[in-house]
């Protein structure tokens, strides 16, 4: 276990380096830059600004300086767009917001998704199954930019229960709608995965053995079927969790939460290189971390998997 984590960390270093260099090159290759505006700046001014941000240096030097700053000072540099703010500021402000609604979305998606999926599998080809499948298909086909206005329509304009936007330090009434809008499609995926893998497990030989032992249906499912049925769901949950906690631009914009998702997308439009790189690296680190967590959970669930 320990050596497994050490090895994973060791593999993470080159992976992140490749990620940084590849994103850097991609951005460099795209035409235009952060200071390209409709009315062109005077060349001297542009030159001065580019010099200030180190954009005149050779590419290799730029990459090297960037990596060096990230590694030694944990400094992702200043934002090119928001003049007085650093990338660290933007992340430390936006990430807690998306983290909050992301974790709630995760919990909600797991609880509802798993229940739907498992019930559907156990009651295979009954009304309960069809209903659960119907709900998850419905949740899947409603994209969040449709979901969000519907939610606002219902809960803000008709029922007047919830505020239509804002964050307000993450008070519960401000979190509910972003969570529902973000989590429904994840929930639907979890339900579908859980249903099909549970169906497969229920058809396996060891379930027949468990039944032959005289175990009640409840115990057959809880003790014998659940763990193996969760495997595909868990491998989906790693990347899904990262996706949820790094936020969604639709949710951030529609509910004005001030989360990181909108900064990420805006940075791409604005050619805000440093913000984009910073968030890319954050997502990269989170992805590697949670894939490792998934592997550890895997090994815990299935003794046949050895962490190697």
């Amino acid at each position: 276990m320990f050596s497994f984590i050490v090895r994973r960390v060791a593999y993470a270093v080159p992976t992140l380096l490749i990620l940084i260099i590849a994103s850097f090159l991609l951005m460099y290759a795209a035409p235009g830059g952060p200071f390209t505006t409709e009315r062109a700046l005077p060349p001297e001014v542009l030159k001065n600004i580019e010099a200030r941000y180190g954009l005149n240096d050779p590419l290799a030097v730029q990459i090297w300086n960037y990596i060096w700053n990230v590694v030694t000072n944990f400094d992702f540099g200043p934002s090119f767009k928001y003049r007085d703010r650093s990338v660290n500021d933007i992340i430390s402000q936006g990430f807690p917001v998306t983290l909050t609604y992301g974790i709630w979305s995760f919990i909600f998606a797991i609880i509802v998704g798993l229940s739907l999926g498992i019930v559907a599998a156990i009651r295979h080809n009954t009304t309960a199954d069809y209903a659960a499948v119907g709900v998850s298909i419905g949740a899947q086909v409603l994209p969040n930019f449709v979901m969000a206005p519907i939610l606002v329509l219902i809960f803000t304009l008709w029922l007047r229960w919830l505020p239509g936007g804002g964050w307000n330090g993450g008070q519960i009434e401000y979190v509910i709608m972003p969570v529902i809008a973000l989590s429904t499609s994840y929930m639907a995926n979890i339900a579908r995965l859980a249903r099909s893998s549970m169906l497969e497990v229920l058809n396996s030989n060891f379930i027949r053995t468990a039944k032959a032992k005289g175990l009640s249906e409840r115990n057959v499912i809880l003790k014998h079927a659940l763990k193996p049925a969760l495997m595909p769901v868990i491998s989906y949950l790693g990347p899904a969790f990262v996706g949820m906690i790094t936020g969604s631009v639709v949710v951030d914009m529609y509910f004005s939460t001030g989360g990181m998702g909108q900064y990420f997308v805006n940075s791409a439009f604005n050619r805000d290189y440093s913000v984009m790189m910073g968030i890319t690296i954050l997502i990269g680190v989170l992805t590697i971390t949670f894939n490792t967590v998934v592997d550890i959970v895997y090994a815990w669930i299935d003794p046949r998997i050895r962490l190697s």
Binding site: S3, V6, R7, H124, N125, S204, N205, F206, R208, T209, A210, K211, A212, K213, G214, L215, S216, E217, K223, H224, K227, P228, I301, D302, P303, R304, R306, L307, S308
Partner: protein
Amino acid sequence: MSDMKNSSVLQVKDLNVSFETPDGRVDAVRGVNLHINRGECLGIVGESGSGKSQTFMTAMGLLANNGHATGEVNFHDTQILGMSVRELNKIRGRHMTMIFQDPLTSLTPHMTVLDQMTEVLELHTSVRGDAAAKKSLEWLERVRISDAKRRLNQYPHELSGGMRQRVMIAMAMLCEPELLIADEPTTALDVTVQAEILDLMDELKRENNTAIALITHDMGVVARMCDRIQVMRHGVYVEEGTAEEIFYNPQHEYTKMLLDAMPRIDQPDKATNRKLKEYDEKGRDQNFLTVDDVRVEFDIKVQEGLWPKKVPLKAVDGVSFTLRPGETMGIVGESGCGKSTLARAVLQLIPPTAGAVSWLGSPLSGLNRKELNKKRKDLQIVFQDPLASLDPRMTIADSIMEPLQTFRPEMSRKDMKAKVAQMMERVGLPQQMINRYPHELSGGQNQRVGIARAMIMEPKLVVCDEAVSALDVSIQAQIIELLMDLQEDFDLSLLFISHDLSVVREISHRIMVLYLGRIVELADRHEIYKDPRHPYTKQLISAVPIPDPKIERARERIKLPGELPSPMDPTARLRFMPSKIAANELDYVPRLDEVKPGHYVAEHDELEKLVV
């Protein structure tokens, strides 16, 4: 008569089982009656699709969701058919237990042996905690699992197939049931392990007075185990009687056919209607196929320290032999002995790690792809699973024709079709099947397709890799006959790989016994049976059940202690020479000695020293 009725544990009356499928209703069991008395072993024999398993699945309440059963199933005097699951759970697992064919997948992978066993005790008895663990250990010891204490905390994947079946039996016996239903309990196991499991079940029957329902296709197993036998076919009863009646005085044609088609290791040339033509080497070119010290190693990643390490697994560890034109060499051995790997290495389907294969005087190993492909025309293979080894999207005629398109592109489509039709007729496939797909054919027919595909180029060598193992005995006999016919017509050489010694003796001129990638004995087919020299060969032959109750029950079995060593164990070669391990000569390689002309035996310690 009333006495007999009272003592009957399970009674099935006029049972019908049907399944609703998308293709309509399938009647799997039609009006079956049976009863099993206390302490009796009833054999239910039949080929695949005879409904023998479904009868007992119904009794255990394990019928698939689309299944429907009518009739009566009485456990003592209680009707259990149609009982609620809650009520049935008081009987199944407690008074009536079941073990299954595939021990590898029948245990829950994420639970330890202990947890799976104590679960049964907690469910049906008041035994808990340490007492439950103690009782589980007692039963593991009773089923003679090696190192029983350690097994308790192991997971199923850490145990071999035989050990898992022992765990299944121990688990089924924990509550000392009155009836144990065993559904093909040894079919997936090696023959030596099968012998031990059968002995064990017989012992439990006698000591605990447990009734056993033994469902099997294997007449040899039945001869050994059963007091009474019921023969089933297509969901109905064919014949019933004591073991002696069924074996020595069968009434029904089907029973007679089953007995006739069953190959016997003590009576070669029996299962088929024709005899193997004895091999005549006069005027034969000896430079046909020469295999010289072939080795195949696979690198296995082993977790040790921070970084994984690669350890070679010796699947084939220095095998040499020659094959003559028109001859059949049988390769036998238990699972993991490297028989399939060896055959594939000979055909260069797996490149050998070391050693040389030469074919008609020129080397096969080390050729590039193009040169090798030219030779493939003469080197063909027939696989074990006939359905899975055919492309499901190609008609059988297209599958058979494919080699022609590769090797004879100049042939016209019409000629190819004519040739395919001719070959289909030759292997016994009706012409109207020409446009059928593999899933529309039976297992035996698909295997005929596989043989036709291999034979279409009229090759000189065909490898049959467990080619008849998945087939019912009656079909098996026909396929063996077909292979013998083809051999004579085309002067074909065969490498016939099988785990079944009786079949191998039926079809092979010479037999090679493999153990952990090494030849332990190689001799003429009669010689190796009449005068086996190596302890492993002796054990193997003594473990094969003979479908004759009197002979079978009187036979003495040779048991070699210990489990199969891991092929990664560097001392695995010395499995039969513990004296060298004791003398610390760990690098010693046992020689292959020619004890008689043509009879080779690997060096070994005396049998008496191996049997403790």
